[in-house]
Amino acid sequence: MRKLFGLFFIFGILFVTTGCSDSTKKTTQQVTDATLEYFLRQWGAAVVLSDSTAAPSQLKYNSGETATDYTVNSVTYKLGSINMYNYQLTSGSTVYATGPYFYSILSSIVPALYFYRSIQEAENSALENSIPGKKEITEENERISKLPLTKKTAEEMKVEREIVTANESTLPDTTTLYSFYDDAGKTVNAYYLDSGTVTSNGRTVTVKVYVDSTWYNAETNAATASKALLKKFIGTGNNDSIYEWVTNIYGSEWGTTQYTNLIADDKTITILLFDIDGDGYSGSNGAFTVGFFYNRDNFIKNTASSSAIKYSNEKLMFYIDLPYMLKKDSTETSWTTSGLYPNKIYGTLAHEFQHMIHYYQKNIVYSSQSSTWLNEMCSVTTEDFIAEKMGVEGPRGIANVNSTGSKYITSGRLPYFIYYNDDSLNIWDNGLADYSVVYAFGAYLSRNYGGPDFFKKIVQTSDTDFDAIKNAMSGTTDIEKYGSKTWSVSSKDEVKYLSVSSITITPQAGGNTIYFILSNTNTSASSITVKGGSYGRTEAINAGSNTYFNAGTITTATTYTLSLPTGVFATAVAR
């Protein structure tokens, strides 16, 4: 577990260099390729500068208190600003981080004690949490791709349809049990509760809601919750639904495909509410699987298969945790459909809907495949895109979209990010830190490169991962690398993308606090040392990550040396 460090500010002289200043003329080098280095360095600077509304372009999290509008196909999405310094990570009375976590170099030089602290250590804490996917990584990857594509027709495959089409005029139907497979292949018996239709961009779909029969009979609010969820998903026909908002960005969730073992496009979406994992109201160690989309169900069931496809429900469908939706927060006098937990479920549905669309658009239409980190980034950022429309806090953790919030915000995804801000961006461990990091990155991209429309381009392409992000960009400014060994700070919040390993920084008259962001573009962890005079720090830094250092406040010229392996880059910010 990371130790809790305060932010140490030393006013006065840190040390005085005895070496000669390098009189080499400042050189710059254009970086023309939007690489991992390009993204990590600018993103890191944006995190450090997030309390400023005057950060330069491509470094902006914070445009002030008024939200920024982004329009896609005549639909406007509002994105609120983010000030990372307004967030705090707590557990009970313990404060783990206030604002972005910085390693201080002002301790004595110590060897790296350990590599990355264990995510599992964090998740064994008492923090209440909820994640859209399962907490534990499944040991066995289920195979959904064993069936040959063209050898069999649907008639030749044995198909057992276990869902009886109901007469919708008699809903809710609590006399018939409809069977579904959960993701482990266990049977869930449900009532067909409600249905409705929604139209977006000329496509009309029917959405059907089923509720676990046991929970329906036992819980008074189960029916109300389910109906509210349907209403949020399909709206009233006035562009007021999750379905319309999300398809407007990313396109359709399904269509006719060329593959014989994929389900037909019957323009129906199913939502099944039940107790995911059978863990009731408490979750497992406080963690819940709140909901998911499983592309297994997009395949035609084959009972002869040993893969997960033998349990396909042959539907476009979502699985939603009913107990979680029925929870009441301690601050609420009674449960309502607009309470804390129902609102989290609505966000989860939007999150899972992006996965559903992502699978169709990326895998089927564009015959490609995203890494999980990018897919999850798109989903958490989608929650951000429509949070204001849904009237929820969303991953930003602030209900008012025209506000950066008040110290200190402890909800949403960013409290975890400020503490785990050095977690890898593109290595996926399915921890809460991973979701927080990809959201912070997605929030950065959306606020600097064009909002929802930028994410549409990331999804609707055969490009993958950073190539998809890079090729969605247009009109960007390259970063300039700073090759001089001297830097006289001319303005507050100045940023230098260093290409030197030693630099003497002369502060402004009143002094500056110096921060370093070390960006590791390697695929494995690296060890780095940042020294300033007799102080310094050695740390192990994660692959594909930024690690943030506070190098102290200086009032006189100070020389720093950076021991960086190949693939690790330093960015300096003077504040």
């Binding site: 996917g133 791709s145 040959p148 995203s370 999980t372 695929t523």
Partner: protein
């Protein structure tokens, strides 16, 4: 002698990049070979590869259980990581 029998007919070597794909909670650990083929990686060493080798180029010895087809990954059971 024993070693050579471990790599008798039916053993394969794949070189490629380790990735985690899909969405939670049903992600897949895959290897993407240099010619773009994708195989789901299984076997005792899969969890190590997932934990330590994401985005790394690796050379794996094992058995091809199934070749990839169109949108569907193949399957490769890892026996040894070189």
């Amino acid at each position: 002698m024993l070693l050579s029998s471990c790599f008798a007919t039916g053993s394969h070597t794949l070189t490629g990049t380790i990735k985690v794909t899909g969405n939670e909670p049903h992600t897949e650990l895959i290897i993407v070979t240099e010619n773009g083929k994708k195989y789901q990686v299984t076997g005792d060493k899969a969890s190590y590869l997932r934990k330590e080798k994401q985005n790394n180029i690796v050379k794996l010895k094992g058995k091809i259980i199934k070749e990839p087809e169109a949108i569907m990954s193949g399957s490769f059971e890892v026996i040894e990581i070189e």
